[in-house]
């Protein structure tokens, strides 16, 4: 019987799910509430200079890439399953488009991070 290739997407889904479960709340608070409203956090922490320095550091690149890519891959599998569950059966086309978009965003993130230099 033909082996399923689902493990690839499941592994990405799992990593993204775990990362978002452990850090999502904090990240949303920091970027979307804390810093914009200067609530418990100093807005200076997310200044252009500070964020550029973070993104130029190898660790910062890793963090930013992991968050964007893994959150997206996690959501992609679930959204594709949602379509399937609602009976929207576009067949291999939907999987191609969905995973293709996630891959595009992953590559975009990598490119943008590398373009910032070190």
């Amino acid at each position: 019987m033909k082996r399923s290739n689902e493990p690839v997407f499941w592994a990405l889904f799992g990593a993204g799910g775990m990362l978002s479960a452990l850090t999502g709340v904090a990240l949303v608070f920091i970027t979307g509430i804390g810093v914009p409203l200067a609530l418990l956090l100093s807005p200076e922490l997310m200044s252009y200079a500070n964020m550029l320095a973070f993104a130029q550091h190898w660790f910062g690149k890793l963090v930013i890439f992991a968050v964007i890519a893994l959150f997206l891959w996690h959501a992609t599998l679930r959204i594709l399953l949602l379509l399937h569950d609602f009976g929207i059966r576009a067949g291999p086309a939907s999987a191609l488009i969905g995973n293709g978009l996630a891959l595009l965003c992953t590559l975009a993130a990598a490119y943008l991070l590398l373009a910032l230099g070190f």
């Binding site: 799910g17 775990m18 978002s20 479960a21 452990l22 850090t23 999502g24 709340v25 904090a26 990240l27 949303v28 608070f29 920091i30 970027t31 979307g32 509430i33 804390g34 810093v35 914009p36 409203l37 418990l40 956090l41 100093s42 807005p43 922490l45 997310m46 200044s47 252009y48 200079a49 500070n50 964020m51 550029l52 320095a53 973070f54 993104a55 930013i64 968050v67 964007i68 959150f71 997206l72 996690h74 959501a75 992609t76 679930r78 959204i79 399953l81 949602l82 569950d85 609602f86 009976g87 965003c105 975009a108 993130a109 943008l112 991070l113 373009a115 910032l116």
Partner: protein
């Protein structure tokens, strides 16, 4: 074919709209639908990364947009979504693990969930604390 089997005519009920049949299914699909907002947040960050690469003025524009009321309201919604995700993730996680033994007894699934949720609280707090330590 005997006369008996000729009379057989099994009826296949339609599967369409299966999720409307039971509240359990609706709750499940609602949980899965929250992943759309997880994707949205990732795209917001990706956009911020793009703006970062376009220079200080562009990035400040992104920061300005985050300060707008609609954006803050959206992020409050996103916060609730991620809190729900942290809980529901660890609610399902025990199903994906083999039985764990602690001092001779099998760890019940709700206990594993509680450990996971505690870990989520601690790590999330750590992330915020570490962020405040981000000095240029």
């Amino acid at each position: 074919m005997s006369a008996q089997t000729d009379k057989r005519h099994p009826y296949r009920r339609p599967i369409r709209g299966w999720w409307k049949r039971d509240r359990y299914y609706i709750r499940y699909l609602a949980m899965e639908a929250t992943s759309i907002l997880i994707a949205l947040y990732a795209l917001i960050l990706l956009f911020g990364l793009l703006r970062l690469g376009q220079g200080e003025a562009a990035f400040n524009g992104w920061l300005e947009a985050l300060r707008s009321s609609p954006s803050v309201a959206l992020h409050v919604l996103l916060l609730l979504v991620f809190i729900y995700h942290s809980y529901s993730w660890f609610k399902v996680m025990p199903k994906t693990l083999p039985a764990i033994y602690w001092r001779g007894a099998k760890l019940p699934q709700p206990v594993i969930t509680r450990i996971g949720v505690c870990a989520a609280v601690i790590v999330n707090l750590l992330v915020i604390i570490l962020f405040t330590g981000l000095q240029p």
